[in-house]
């Protein structure tokens, strides 16, 4: 029997501003009945002075603040997981490490594999703990992704249309250790499915390209393949019986619904009514936060996990199955257990309240941000951020508990607490 391992503490940072997706779809002239299939309500929009570093640090800080000095000193690895990197060489982890005031004896690096990055990061951390090379050591895993495309003209907006309503932003910080108070991983219970495919990609700093059909097909193939590999490793695993709840990578809720239906038909030849009831029961809770932040890429499966833990009945411990998928592509199905303590601990992060507190952007404000004039492009050498660009979005609490980007000098990003 191996020792316990998993997520000790967790937080989701949902950004400072949000947009009503229904309003956006109306504005773009998208067909409303079809809109319902997205299962989306709002999305987080990153402000120009919010970048992958600020998202990551703002997600992790409440966790680090809640630790004693001794506990904090045992964070020996910071893994940032992202497809929104700001430099080809220097990792986001270096900035995150600095702004969290962590000890110098720390391994810092960044992981990339599209939206699977968070799954990969978590498994690296879990295996660090299981390997016992540094007994008692902790790893901080932070997924951080923003979708911010400087759209030069109407044509570019048109091309982006298929993913615009669901492209969100968010970061999830997870402290991984041998005290899995939030989520105890089932060690060795996992399955992978990977193959090379060009479904969606980020070929340039401000561009995303993709094929919605191919991406969906790869996702469906992976979902079935990864669960099959999980079943090969875990004797008696049954998709319908083993997991009380499920959390899937969520580009938008409709895609999760499609994948769930695919598995239920493939494995059990289940009828539509049974499939719909099972989806509402076992996947409905996982959409609680995702439908309000949009696709958070590397973090989306963990945004789903947070939603599930915060909203389902956890009087009795439950096993949750997770499916992480990243275009290109690689995927993993794995599992773990959440308890009443998980809910109590996660609720102290007040994720739902943070969602409500975001500034509501008007379409005009959103379009101004989208035009890209204020966005710090990849490779910017020197600049000063305009903190007044959306006056209402700037917090006035003065709590010094939120990090924002202030200036860039000789490529070095300087941040301030506000």
């Amino acid at each position: 029997m191996s020792r316990p391992v998993g997520i000790e503490a967790m937080n989701v940072f949902v950004g400072m501003a949000a947009l009503d997706v229904r309003e956006l779809c109306t504005h773009r002239g998208l067909d409303m009945p079809r809109f319902e299939n997205l299962l989306m309500e709002e999305k987080t929009v990153a402000l120009p002075y919010e970048d992958p570093v600020t998202f990551a640090v703002n997600a992790a800080r409440p966790i680090v603040d809640s630790l004693s000095e001794d506990e904090r000193n045992r964070i020996e690895m910071v893994i940032t997981c992202t497809e929104s990197g700001i430099d080809f060489g220097k990792s986001l982890s270096t900035y995150v490490h600095k702004h969290l005031n962590l000890k110098p004896n720390c391994r810092l690096f960044e992981i990339k594999q599209a939206c699977y990055s968070g799954g990969a990061g978590l498994q690296m951390a879990v295996n660090f703990v299981l390997a016992q090379t540094s007994p008692g050591g902790k790893a901080l895993v932070v997924t951080t992704d923003i979708s911010r495309f400087a759209l030069a003209d109407a044509n570019a907006v048109q091309e982006w249309a298929y993913s615009e309503p669901s492209s969100g932003a968010g970061a999830v910080a997870m402290l991984v250790s041998d005290s899995p108070n939030i989520f105890q991983i089932d060690p060795g219970a996992y399955g992978n499915h990977a193959f090379e495919v060009m479904d969606t990609c980020r070929p340039g700093p401000d561009t995303e390209a993709g094929d919605a059909d191919l991406s969906l097909m790869a996702y469906l193939d992976c979902c079935a393949g990864a669960f099959e590999d999980y079943s090969r490793r875990v004797e008696g695993a049954d998709f319908r019986q083993t997991f009380s709840q499920l959390c899937f990578h969520t580009p938008f809720g409709g895609m999760v619904k499609g994948a769930h239906r695919h598995l239920m038909r493939k494995l059990y030849k289940a009828k539509p009514q049974e499939i719909a009831a099972d989806f509402d029961k076992r996947l409905g809770p996982s959409l609680a936060y995702g439908k309000r932040v949009g696709n958070t890429a590397g973090g989306s499966v963990f945004v789903a996990l947070a939603g599930t833990i915060d909203t389902v009945d956890l009087t009795e411990p439950i096993r949750i199955g997770l499916f992480s998928y990243g275009s290109g592509c690689c995927s993993e199905f794995f599992s773990g257990v959440a308890t009443a303590q998980s809910k109590q601990k996660l609720q102290s992060m007040e994720i739902s309240k943070s969602l409500d507190q975001r500034y509501r952007l008007s379409i005009a404000e959103y379009e101004e941000l989208l035009s890209g004039g204020a966005v710090i492009r990849f490779g910017t050498k020197d600049t000063k951020l305009d903190h007044g660009i959306i006056p209402g979005a700037w917090p006035t609490t003065g709590m010094k508990d939120r990090l924002v980007l202030d200036t860039v000098k000789d490529y070095h990003r300087n941040y301030i607490w506000i």
Binding site: D31, N37, F195, D213, L216, M217, A218, G254, G258, R261
Partner: protein
């Protein structure tokens, strides 16, 4: 089963999946996207047709056809091969 019959199966699945298209004329030259079948529904149409054909291959192998006729042709070739 030839590709014409498979095209009829695909069209029947489209009508099943998207009730709004039940009475609309659909030909093999039509593309599902242009008919207003969204990406999730498109994958369902393909999966149901694969099920009926007993075809067990990765879905990504069925990517590329521009219209229903081309999809039927590809499904036919995969079933035969």
């Amino acid at each position: 089963m030839d590709s014409k019959q498979i095209a009829d199966m695909v069209i029947a699945e489209i009508r099943e999946t998207v009730p709004e298209l039940a009475d609309q004329p659909i030909s093999p030259e039509d593309s599902m996207a242009e008919l207003g079948v969204d990406s999730i529904e498109r994958s369902e149409v393909i999966l149901s047709t694969m099920e009926k054909l007993g075809l067990k291959i990765p879905m990504v192998q069925l990517h590329g056809p521009k219209n229903i006729g081309e999809l039927a042709e590809l499904l036919f070739n995969k079933s035969a091969g």
